[in-house]
Symmetry: C2
Subunit: 256 residues, 2 copies
Amino acid sequence: MRPPDDLRAAFEAYLETLTFAPELGSLDEALRYALEPGGKRIRPVLCLAVAEAAGGTVEAALPAAAAVELVHTFSLVHDDLPGLDDDAERRGRPSAHVAFGEGVAVLAGDALLAEALRLAVSYDDPRIARELVEATLGMIGGQHRDITGDDRDLAEVERLKTGSLFSASVGLGLRVAGVPEAGQRPWRAFADELGVLFQVVDDLLDEDGFALRLGVEGARHLADDAADRARERLSAIRADTSVLRALVDGMAVRTG
Amino acid sequence: MRPPDDLRAAFEAYLETLTFAPELGSLDEALRYALEPGGKRIRPVLCLAVAEAAGGTVEAALPAAAAVELVHTFSLVHDDLPGLDDDAERRGRPSAHVAFGEGVAVLAGDALLAEALRLAVSYDDPRIARELVEATLGMIGGQHRDITGDDRDLAEVERLKTGSLFSASVGLGLRVAGVPEAGQRPWRAFADELGVLFQVVDDLLDEDGFALRLGVEGARHLADDAADRARERLSAIRADTSVLRALVDGMAVRTG
């Protein structure tokens, strides 16, 4: 089993070799900018780790992992737009709309989503693309609830905004590894807890969301519970899930 | 063979029954608004007509036809945004960003693209989704050239912006009908001419693009030539292409 840092390095190397549709012309530059290192790559690393733990290969899962990361990046590019969250910075650099202009940022996000789906349909199993598309729609629905203030149920908004793509990261890893539907349930239960853990820790670091609703102590408690449940879910899986356990441990104590 | 109006009615009826991902919640309303009747539905009608002429059924082609129309609609919603073409009206009504706000319009466009791909991956043949995704990337690349002024070659910009999706409309119809790659060439040659015809007539009606570059007479000449070549291409196809011929004739003389 390759440790998380090794998977991350394999993913970065794959991303560097990835080519986009030539028809995009110079828009390619904006896609590369948005995808540049600096992100935690937690979703693709999760996808690769699940694929390997479930008996598949990292190599076979790389396009799926990239598809998930491209969907995530598309959502960041669009969420940063003035009409949405209006964020001028992303990972310490000007966000895409500041660097390239609003129109180009809209198109770059569109192209990232389309490229993600091109990667997903590069597999002959249509269920891979179906799962990614459904997760994308869940994520968009969550973002819509968020910006329209229809977020009375914060847990539901976060489940859609963050959980959908975490769930797809795990689901795509399982599908690439050829795990039958019936055997996917315990892995997916793990994904749900990991999504909650990630989001609550994120809110603690950003001092928003659950940290505002529940206070720092309440949110910390929620995160610890989710981490415990994620570890329990892993124990129920009959496979070497040591790398996934390391991901849970790292996520529970992350500070950035 | 069902005439164009009949195909259009079948398409509208299908679109009305089409449901979107429940996770989209109230964003659904913005998607419906953008998709409401008023458009010519030329791409889906083309897709359905090709499917039927090539030996398939209209019913089997309806999801593919809708996928193409959703990609087209997604591009209109995003192109109308202030950061792009900044159009406040579309088909005589407030455009989506005016009716729903900019943020919601961005998300509605994203959701339309994702829903289009959901329809495309509902087929087990992955080549259907692959073709749609590639056409979408071509279209986005054309729009990027257009807004960045990198449009010295107007024919190339239009081939990408309009031609990509016309080509996919025909290609998806062929794939749904099960036409093998080798037999697709004459149909695709027809699609290329039809795309040019559509775009040049569009420019004549809008008094821009080719009409500005070549003058009204020059553009009219270009359109007539494309219509002639489209009819020639149809004559080379061994199938009942009478409905496609009617589409060419209608397109050549359309006034709106």
